[in-house]
Symmetry: C2
Subunit: 197 residues, 2 copies
Amino acid sequence: MSRWKPDARGRLEKAAMELYNDKGFDATTVAEIAARAEVTERTFYRHFVDKREVLFQRNALADVLAHATATAADSLAPLEVIAHALTEAAPVFEERAELVRQRQAVIAANPELQERELAKLAALVSTLAHALRERGLEDTTAALAAEIGIAAFKVAFERWIDGPDQRTLAGQIRETLDAARHLTAPARPVMPSQPTT
Amino acid sequence: MSRWKPDARGRLEKAAMELYNDKGFDATTVAEIAARAEVTERTFYRHFVDKREVLFQRNALADVLAHATATAADSLAPLEVIAHALTEAAPVFEERAELVRQRQAVIAANPELQERELAKLAALVSTLAHALRERGLEDTTAALAAEIGIAAFKVAFERWIDGPDQRTLAGQIRETLDAARHLTAPARPVMPSQPTT
């Protein structure tokens, strides 16, 4: 075994994403991940329960969303609270853009992992709805705002992942939520009535 | 075996929902479902591949959504198209309200079935997004409108399932989409500027 190198966890993640993309998630073994990361299998299991946990490890997202929702200004409309919370959370992904992109490709290639990912997004909706209820929002409004917020996040996230341009995730989130405002507007804008002369 | 009775499929569904609710999904066998429905196991397998398919059988929802989206008036805003499509689809559930409620209870009690249900909803989002693109909507707008539409449908559906009042699903959908409009409004409505005197 090679000499000790720093950041075993980071190298394990990187090795795993490369192998999952090259060979497929199902065909990759923990032994291969450990070998590519130049650590022992035992080291792998000190950091992750199994090879799926590399993809679905606990991250700061739920905490950041809950905290940003709780501390947003009282004057904000529900969807502005959501916009604030989601843009606060964007760095969780932006700081690891390359790994995040690889992870997404692995998940897109595997229906079981997609179902797991959807369950994780549903848990985020619950976290966000809870934080909105704590702000005093009524149940249905909180649930709806949380669903719409995570829906907009999904769309913004996909644009960010796929986007050939170098736009930030936070920028995509703001644009997507702006687009959401237009979707809900009536086909013809209501004109303020002309003052009679 | 008892005398032949009509609607074996309907009785199998009813028997399965009762058993899934009473004993749990995992503990229920196809033999038990068939016995309660007073048919042979062979009859069960003529109607369903396995006991999970009773919960996730192909229904008319995706077709109704796609058709209603395609044929909605050109003048409608994207979210009005969605509102039209979802209310058109409501009878798919309203006609089988009791079975739908039982089914929901079974799924709520089982994380694996929940993941399957989320995947089914994600497939509906794709169907709806495709139908909106066919109307000429640009990709991101179509994706976002479809996500928000299915998100609003989920919330309306839960209100309908849980609701002690006898409101219709179509009514819940309209109310939820109305609420969506308010969520996206600024905290303070923009006042038309006063005509200077």
